[in-house]
C-alpha cells in the first residue's frame, strides 16, 4: 500500500513534469496544472510516508528496469520517511506560494510551463532520492533533482549573474556527483547496485569511501568549503524555488551521506571528528558570512550553510558517541541533527518565501534599501519574525528544539565521557553552538530589524503592499508550524527515535533508544511548559500594562534624535553599520571590503558607509584554482600549433614511444 502510494506520487510528479513540458510557453492550463499536480503528488506521497511511520517500513523489492544494474526498487524506512516528509510538505507549500509569486514573471511572458515542469521534476527527484533502493535509481533521482533545480535557477536566464550562478551550481553539483559515482562504484563492486547488495569488498576502502561520501554529498548539503554554489544559486532562483532548494534539497545531501555510510561498517572515531569539524567550520563560517551579507537571499543562503553545519555537528557527535561507546551522546547527537533537519526545512523555507514576498513588493532584496515593512506587510513581517526567532534557536519556536538536543548531546559527552574522549568533542560542540547562536542572533536581528523596522530607506520599500493570499497562506502555515513544532518539540522526538535506532543498529551499536528518547522528551516537555508559561506571563503582563496605560496619556512623537531636529530615514543604522563591529572582529578571515566615505570639511554634505563581503573560499581558493587551470590549458594549446609536419612527427613519436613501452 505504502509503496503503491509512493509510486503513484512519483508518477504524478512525472506527469506534472511531462505534461507542461509539451505545452506552449505560458498556457493557462499549465499554470494551473503544474501546482495542482505538485500538491496532489505531495499529498499522496505524504499519505504513504505517514503510513510507513505508523505501520513500519516497506520495500518494493527489486523490480526489473531496463538500465544495466538498475532496478526499480523503492522502499521507505524511518530514515527515508524522515527526509521525505519535509520534501513533500515544503514542496506543496512552496508550490502554493508560487501561484502568487510567479505572477509578475508570467506577466513578463516568462515560460511558466517550463517552470512548473521543472518544479515537478525537482520534487519528484527529491522524493525519488529519499525512497530509492537501488544506487542507479538513486542517481537518477539525484541527477533529475540537480538538473531540474539547475533549470529553475536559470529561470531568469537573461541575466548574466543568474547564468554564472547556474553554471557554478551545476559544476559544483557535478563535481559532487563525480565523487558519488566513484563511491557507488566502490560500494557496488560486488556486482549489484541494489541497496541490499551494496557493501565494501575491503574494509580498508572504508576511509576513502567515507571521504568520497562526505565530499560528494557534502557538496549538495553545502558544507564548507563545498558551499560556494549556495550563495550564488539561491539568490538567483525564484524565491519559492530557493525555499525548496535551501529548505529541503540540500538535506538530501545529509540523507545521502547517512544512507551510504551505513554501508561502510562501524565508524572509526575520525569520521565523527571530521563531521564535527566540518560542521563547526560550516556553522561558524556560514553564520559569519551570513552576518556580513546585506542581500537578503544571499544572507539566507549562507545561513543555510550554518544550519547544515549544526546538523553536521549533531551527526558528528552521534558518530563519536558510537565510536566512543557513549549511547546517550550517540542518541542525542543524531536526534538533534534530525530534529534540526525537520525544523530547518520549515523556518528556512518560511524565510525564503518571505524574502520572495519582499522582493515582489519592493523590487529589491538589498537590506539597505528596505525598512519599515512590518507596517506595510504585517503578515509577511510577522512570518519573517517567526522565522528569524526560530532560526536563532530561540524558544518557543522550533529552531530551539534541535539545538537544545544537540546541546544535550554535547553536555552528555562531557558528563559521561570516559576521560577526554567524549569531553573534547562535547566542549568543542558547545563552544561552537554557542558562538553560532550568538552570531545568528546578530544576523537575524539585523535582517529583520533593518528590513521590517524603522522607516523605509527607498521609495520601493515605502510603497510596498501586503502580498496576495496565495503567498500569505504558506507563510502563515509555516509560521504556525514553527510554533507548533517548537511547543510540541517532545512529540518530534518520537518521530526521529526510530531513525536513530535504525542508524545506531546499522552501525553495529544498538542503543536503547526508548530510554534516551524519554530523557530528551522530558527535557523538551519541560522546555515547552516553560515556553508556554513565559508566553502566558507575557500576555498577562501586557494585559496589566494596557490596563495601567488605559487611564494615562499615551502620546505619539517622532523618534528621539538625541537633539537633532530633522531626522531622515537615510540616517538610520544600515545593515552594513549594524554588522560592522562583528565583521570587523572577524575581518581578516572574512575579507570584508569596507567602503567608508567620511564626512569632511566644515559643512560636510554626503557621507556613507557600506561593506561588501565576497566569499573567501571562492576568492581565495576556487578562482585561483580555476584560473590557474585555464592558464595551464591555454599554454597547452601550443600542441595544436597548426604545422602538419610536426603533427606527422607526433604520430611517429607516438609510435616509437608505444613500441618502446610495450615491446622494449
Amino acid at each position: 500500500m505504502t509503496i503503491t502510494l509512493l509510486f503513484i506520487s512519483l508518477c504524478t510528479f512525472l506527469a506534472g513534469g511531462l505534461v507542461p513540458a509539451f505545452l506552449r510557453g505560458n498556457s493557462r492550463f499549465s499554470r494551473v496544472f503544474g501546482p495542482v499536480a505538485n500538491v496532489a503528488g505531495c499529498a499522496v506521497g505524504l499519505l504513504g510516508v505517514v503510513l510507513s511511520m505508523l505501520y513500519g517500513p516497506a520495500e518494493s523489492g527489486s523490480i526489473h528496469w531496463g538500465a544495466p544494474s538498475g532496478s526499480m526498487a523503492v522502499g521507505i524506512d524511518p530514515l527515508s520517511a524522515l527526509f521525505a516528509l519535509p520534501v513533500l510538505v515544503i514542496s506543496a507549500l512552496c508550490a502554493l506560494h508560487g501561484c502568487g509569486y510567479m505572477k509578475p514573471y508570467a506577466a513578463k511572458g516568462k515560460d511558466m510551463s517550463r517552470f512548473w515542469a521543472f518544479y515537478n521534476f525537482l520534487t519528484g527527484g527529491m522524493l525519488l532520492v529519499t525512497v530509492a533502493r537501488n544506487a542507479l535509481l538513486f542517481l537518477l533521482g539525484w541527477e533529475v533533482m540537480a538538473l531540474a533545480s539547475f533549470f529553475l535557477v536559470l529561470f531568469d536566464a537573461g541575466r548574466e549573474p543568474v547564468r554564472r550562478a547556474a553554471w557554478i551550481y551545476l559544476v559544483a553539483t557535478h563535481l559532487g556527483t563525480a565523487c558519488i559515482l566513484l563511491l557507488f562504484s566502490m560500494l557496488g563492486s560486488g556486482g549489484s547496485l541494489d541497496f541490499t547488495g551494496l557493501s565494501l569488498p575491503d574494509r580498508s576502502w572504508a576511509g576513502a569511501a567515507f571521504v568520497l561520501a562526505l565530499v560528494g554529498f557534502g557538496t549538495k548539503a553545502g558544507f564548507v568549503p563545498f558551499h560556494v554554489w549556495l550563495p550564488e544559486a539561491h539568490p538567483s532562483a525564484p524565491s519559492n524555488v530557493s525555499a525548496v532548494m535551501s529548505g529541503v534539497m540540500i538535506k538530501t545531501g545529509i540523507y545521502g551521506l547517512l544512507r551510504f555510510i551505513l554501508f561502510m561498517g562501524p565508524p572509526p572515531a575520525w569520521w565523527g571528528w571530521t563531521l564535527l569539524g566540518v560542521g563547526l567550520l560550516s556553522g561558524v563560517a556560514g553564520v559569519l558570512m551570513a552576518l556580513s551579507q546585506h542581500e537578503l537571499k544571499r544572507m539566507l543562503a549562507y545561513s543555510s550553510v550554518e544550519n547544515i553545519g549544526i546538523i553536521g555537528m549533531g551527526l558528528g557527535l552521534g558518530l563519536l558517541g558510537i565510536s566512543y561507546g557513549i549511547p546517550a551522546m550517540a542518541f542525542l547527537g543524531f536526534a538533534g541533527a534530525f530534529l534540526h533537519v525537520l525544523n530547518h526545512s520549515v523556518f528556512k523555507s518560511l524565510l525564503f518565501l518571505a524574502a520572495g514576498a519582499i522582493q515582489n513588493a519592493t523590487g529589491t532584496r538589498e537590506l539597505d534599501q528596505l525598512g519599515g515593512l512590518l507596517k506595510r506587510m504585517p503578515v509577511t513581517g510577522a512570518a519573517f519574525l517567526a522565522g528569524s526567532v526560530a532560526i536563532c534557536g530561540l524558544p518557543p519556536l522550533n529552531g530551539f528544539v534541535g539545538e537544545l538536543t544537540a546541546y544535550l548531546a554535547a553536555f552528555t559527552g562531557i558528563q559521561n565521557g570516559a576521560g577526554t574522549q567524549g569531553a573534547l568533542p562535547g566542549i568543542i560542540a558547545i563552544g561552537g553552538l554557542a558562538l553560532m547562536g550568538g552570531l545568528a542572533l546578530a544576523c537575524f536581528t539585523k535582517a529583520f530589524g533593518i528590513a521590517f523596522l524603522g522607516e523605509p530607506r527607498s521609495p520601493g520599500a515605502g510603497s510596498a503592499r501586503e502580498s496576495h493570499f496565495s503567498m500569505r497562506f504558506p507563510l502563515v502555515a509555516l509560521s504556525l508550524l514553527c510554533l507548533l513544532m517548537g511547543l510540541g518539540g517532545w512529540l518530534l522526538v518520537g518521530l526521529v527515535e526510530p531513525v536513530v535506532g535504525m542508524l545506531t543498529t546499522g552501525f553495529g551499536f544498538p542503543v536503547a533508544t526508548g530510554v534516551h528518547a524519554s530523557h530528551a522528551e522530558s527535557t523538551l516537555r519541560y522546555a515547552s511548559i516553560g515556553s508556554v508559561s513565559v508566553i502566558a506571563a507575557v500576555l498577562l503582563l501586557l494585559f496589566v500594562r494596557s490596563r495601567l496605560l488605559a487611564r494615562r496619556s499615551v502620546t505619539t512623537a517622532p523618534t528621539w534624535g538625541c537633539g537633532y531636529g530633522s531626522p531622515e530615514p537615510s540616517m538610520q543604522y544600515t545593515a552594513s553599520s549594524f554588522a560592522d563591529p562583528l565583521t570587523g572582529l572577524f575581518g581578516p578571515a572574512l575579507g570584508t571590503g569596507r567602503n567608508l566615505a567620511s564626512p569632511g570639511g566644515l559643512f560636510p554634505d554626503r557621507a556613507g558607509f557600506s561593506s561588501d563581503t565576497p566569499d573567501a573560499c571562492t576568492d581565495r581558493f576556487y578562482i585561483p584554482l580555476f584560473t590557474g587551470m585555464e592558464r595551464l590549458f591555454k599554454r597547452l594549446r601550443v600542441i595544436q600549433h597548426g604545422r602538419i609536419n610536426l603533427y606527422v612527427l607526433s604520430i611517429v613519436v607516438a609510435l616509437a614511444a608505444l613500441l618502446a613501452w610495450k615491446l622494449g
Binding site: 546578530a442 529583520f448 507575557v538 494615562r552
Partner: protein
C-alpha cells in the same frame, strides 16, 4: 520552600543590589551617594507616569519590555532555588535559560531598531556583539560545572558540588566564577563594558537602546535590568556557596552576604577601572571564553 523564599527575595531585593553597587562607587569617590533604595523610588515614579511612543514603532516596541521582564523573572525562577533544591530544574535547563535570555535580547534589539533611531541601532549592534561573545564563555563555564558535578540541571549541578569537588577541582571552579563575573559585567552593561551613568549616547550600549522608552515600559526595563544582575550574581554566589556543603538554611544565611559581596565587587571594579574602548571589549569577552576553556581543560585533568 527555601527555594521559593530565595526566588521571592530576589524579586524584591534585586534593585537593592544596584543600590549597593552605587553606594560602593560613591564610597570610593568619597561621596555619600544615592540612597540604597533609590531604585525603588525611580520604579514607582516611572510606573505612575504616562508614555510617549515613537511614531515609527510597531507592536514589537510595546511587547519587548514585558517580554524581557518575564524572561528575566523566569530566569530568576530557574536560578534562585537551585542552590537549595537539587531536584529543581530539568536536564539542560541552563541552556533553555540562555535561550530564553536570547529571546529577550532578540526582542530588545528589535525594539531598538524599531524606532529607526541611528543611536539605538548602534546600541543594538553592540549588544549583539557582546552577547555573541559572552554566550560561549557562559556555556563552556556551565560545561565545567556539568563535568565536575556530573549533573545536567542547575539544581543538580549545584547539588552535585561539594567540598570534595572544590578540593579536587577548585581551581577550575574559581576560573568559571571569574569567567561568569566577566560575563556578568558585560551582560549587565557595567564598566568596563559600558558605563550606565554616561551621558554621551555615542558611548552607551544598553542605555542607548532604550532611549525611546518611557513610563511603565521603562520601569519594566529598569526593573528587568536589576533582576538580571541579581540572576547573574546568584549564579556566582551559588557556585561559591556549594563549597560550604551545608544545609539549606546555611545557604540561605550566607546567600545575602554573597550577594552583597558581588554588589561591592561590581562597585569596586567600576571604581578602579575605566571604561574600555569599544574596540577592546570583545577581547575581554574572548578572554572570558578562554578562561572557561582553561577551566574545562583543568577539570578534565582533575577528574580523569
Amino acid at each position: 520552600m527555601p527555594g521559593l523564599i530565595l526566588f521571592l527575595s530576589g524579586l524584591l531585593l534585586a534593585p537593592l543590589l544596584l543600590g549597593v553597587t552605587v553606594r560602593t562607587k560613591a564610597a570610593f569617590a568619597g561621596r555619600r551617594g544615592a540612597p540604597l533604595f533609590q531604585q525603588y523610588h525611580d520604579l514607582v515614579k516611572l510606573l505612575r507616569r504616562g508614555q510617549v511612543m515613537s511614531g515609527t514603532t510597531t507592536f514589537l516596541f510595546r511587547v519587548a519590555p514585558s517580554l524581557a521582564l518575564v524572561v528575566t523573572v523566569s530566569a530568576a525562577a530557574l536560578v534562585a532555588p537551585s542552590i537549595v533544591s537539587p531536584g529543581w530544574g530539568f536536564p539542560g535547563d541552563f541552556v533553555f535559560l540562555l535561550c530564553l535570555l536570547g529571546l529577550a535580547r532578540f526582542f530588545t534589539v528589535s525594539s531598538a531598531l524599531d524606532t529607526g533611531s541611528s543611536f539605538e541601532g548602534m546600541g543594538a549592534s553592540r549588544e549583539v556583539l557582546y552577547s555573541a561573545l559572552s554566550e560561549p564563555a557562559l556555556l563552556i563555564g556551565f560545561g565545567v560545572l556539568v563535568r565536575v558535578s556530573g549533573e545536567m540541571s542547575l539544581g543538580g549541578m549545584y547539588g552535585g558540588l561539594g567540598s570534595g569537588e572544590w578540593l579536587s577541582a577548585g581551581t577550575a571552579l574559581c576560573l568559571v566564577a571569574v569567567s561568569f563575573f566577566i560575563v556578568l559585567l558585560a551582560e549587565n552593561s557595567r564598566i568596563p563594558f559600558d558605563d550606565p551613568n554616561t551621558h554621551l549616547e555615542l558611548t552607551m550600549v544598553h542605555e542607548v537602546m532604550v532611549l525611546d522608552n518611557s513610563g511603565p515600559d521603562f520601569a519594566l526595563i529598569t526593573y528587568g535590568a536589576a533582576l538580571k544582575l541579581w540572576v547573574f550574581a546568584s549564579l556566582i554566589v551559588n557556585l561559591f556557596l556549594t563549597a560550604l556543603g551545608g544545609s539549606s538554611f546555611q545557604y540561605i544565611a550566607w546567600f545575602p552576604a554573597g550577594m552583597l559581596l558581588v554588589g561591592v565587587l561590581v562597585g569596586t571594579v567600576e571604581s578602579v577601572m575605566a571604561r574600555l574602548s569599544l574596540l577592546k571589549t570583545p577581547h575581554l569577552l574572548a578572554g572570558a571564553g578562554a578562561i572557561s576553556v582553561l577551566a574545562f581543560i583543568l577539570s578534565t585533568r582533575f577528574l580523569q
